[in-house]
Subunit: 238 residues, 4 copies
């Protein structure tokens, strides 16, 4: 019942793609997107974070090879009580290799975030922590996450990119604290060109939710985004 | 990938046993307890609620036949956004047939509880709602749950039963509102004799967490509890 | 320093007006509205609930005579720890005579609501509890509040009244549980005619927030609402 | 009705005393402690933070001269809606000059903390932000508070001081980020000797809750603590 951990890399090296279906997909449809993503991740040889509802993590880890299966939240509990809370060990057992924390739709207190990151380290899950403002990006970077999703809350789900310099600015803030933190910029990203742009602006990863899920042709949009990442990675002078 | 729904009854008819491992068990060990419980549930022909971490629901529904696989919490979201929240549809797809809501360790606002119960009805999950004081038991009963767990919060996990008349009193309060609600009394229950007592006091189900999980011989304690339920069910005059 | 409790009635007998400035007003401006309301409440001889920020409760109780000074929230703590939480005893000492609980903008878990209502009874504060759906109205009514604000959350602050039968329906639900609970209907109320209508539909009180605060002439809108209440109270056949 | 702002200094320069009655005191008793503290603060000429329930802030600002009247929490709302939440402007109007945020008994999400500190700056309140672990202390320091309370949550209210090097370590962490942040160390402090020790270890302020409130002679314990601070401040070589 244990997921084949050794065959899956943590994947948190960039440039990478993140596919974050949130609660849009589950079961068969989710597996369909995951297998398609897995196929393309293998073809393009690009590390890929793929998140899912907790109930679907094991299903995805059993049906994919190259994705970093990622939980969308967990709680800082240890085995024992904690009715209704998400146990880190159970996620690892189900095949998760990373966890997203502090998303605007599930914000954590600073103490909870700190304790949950500690638990992630204990069980071997990579941490992908969300932050919004410059101050929040800086504070989270000092907590030592493996990756961050910098995202202006007001832009989530809009398909609109920040008109200003949010991407460069927050990426620089995080890198200034710790260059090893992979910075994902995905707010408002819905095309390959958007992915290319945020990578050019310094991000180590991009992708998204509605830009992918709601696209009429998943293979087309994923290929477009993977192509942007590959082209960025192979550009000689940056 | 769809769980075999037809082969599993909702199970919310009493007298029944509830096995609630909370976050004590996951993966292989959880499957071991679930299969053992499933075997005994079949032998004794007694309806059984078995809860699990969300990540393990599908695993359990694939490895058991007679248990009502039950989620320990869910959120009132619909397919779409809701990063980090538990989608009801995903639980059903993973084989869950019921959900516990409003446990003292994951309390809900009244508005959330109302909305989540509505969602449960929409997706076909039975609702098992927790309440503590007399007033809370009465209020929850008026929300129309399929079952309730009446539990004095201070007694959770203590292995001590309420010395007073909590069981009779709260069971009567709920039944007075709606006799069709199945009342589970499990606080402080750790032996077959405890199960027998709460059933004699009017409860429609019993069981527990630490009383079972921490017992050195799961088969022994489960058999003891199932025996108490069978004996109660077959007692001629009550 | 103790507020003149004896000179102020609990006021929770209808028909009454509720003026709920939320966080729109504070300090001098709030006192100005409170004194004006107090003057008109005395003239019309109509019981009036007037809510305020915690920091302004004492100020209002010192500057008014006939208003039921009401807190907008409190916590179920007892004197002791509870940093950052609102102590019921401190509200009473500051002159509050009632407290609004479970507003959609500050929802409480069922256990918190139950415990806070218990604390209100202990310190002698009248309870005014908010509820939204039919099910929530019924559940809250069973907790035994002195008054309820039935309010479809989606309509708060819109200035639009529910087109259907929300007012009659929820008022009847509450009265069916306990006729002594005063039912306040204020969602979308912005004119005297609105007040007249909800009273005709069975409500025991009305009033509001933005309909009053944003009106260019406070004396005019308050007089209009008080007139509607007086006319309703003195209508011979209802 | 406006509090005499000019006559009260922000007080966030050390070494200082913090008297934090939490919810132990209110009304007359709180005023008695505040006036006594005010008298001694004047005699010793030592800056003093004095916190209170929101309902008592105005009372204290009217009855004291030299204390930095401080709220125990506030919300990041602006004038408008926000029923049951604490409006920053109302606190300033009531005479508060500072606010404690993120206490372990009222933890904030990182986004809330960020937004509330922004609001504090807008209305001119000094910020005193709590943190627990090394990582939390570092993260909070990067948010730019005026002062911090570093406190191992497990020690709150115990009267026991951390046996290890918590005080030196966390003080150094904060000072390393920004030397201008005043670091308050008060966990387990109950005597003048405790105050002397944490100041010697680098803290810029100390004081407490139960160590003061529960002492049978407030004048004695306050004098003892003020003496420790004065002696520390006048020690020639440090």
């Amino acid at each position: 019942m244990r997921a084949p951990a050794d065959s899956q890399d943590s994947g948190l090296t960039g440039p990478l793609l993140i596919v974050n279906p949130k609660a849009y997909l589950y079961g068969d449809e989710l597996v369909r997107l995951a297998r398609l993503t897995d196929e393309l991740a293998g073809q393009f040889q690009i590390p890929t974070i793929f998140t899912a509802q907790h109930a679907d993590l094991r299903l995805l880890s059993e049906h994919t090879l190259d994705l970093t299966i990622t939980a969308q939240h967990m709680d800082p509990i240890v085995p024992g009580r904690g009715m209704g809370h998400v146990l880190p060990e159970a996620l690892v057992d189900a095949g998760a290799r990373a966890v997203v924390l502090n998303h605007a739709e599930h914000a954590l207190t600073l103490a909870e975030l700190d304790a949950t990151m500690e638990r992630a380290r204990e069980v071997g899950l990579s941490t992908i922590v969300c932050a919004d403002s410059d101050a929040q990006c800086r504070a989270v970077a000092h907590l030592g996450p493996d990756a961050m999703i910098c995202e202006p809350t007001a832009a989530i789900g809009t398909g609109e990119m920040d008109a200003g310099d949010y991407v460069e600015r927050t990426t620089a803030i995080v890198k200034d604290v710790d260059p090893s933190i992979l910075v994902i910029q995905a707010a408002g990203v819905s095309r390959g060109a958007d992915v290319a742009r945020v990578l050019a602006q310094g991000a180590g990863g991009s992708g998204g939710t509605s830009g992918i899920i709601k696209h009429p042709d998943w293979r087309e949009i994923l290929s477009e985004m993977y192509t942007a990442i590959r082209d960025h990675a192979t550009t000689p002078t940056r």
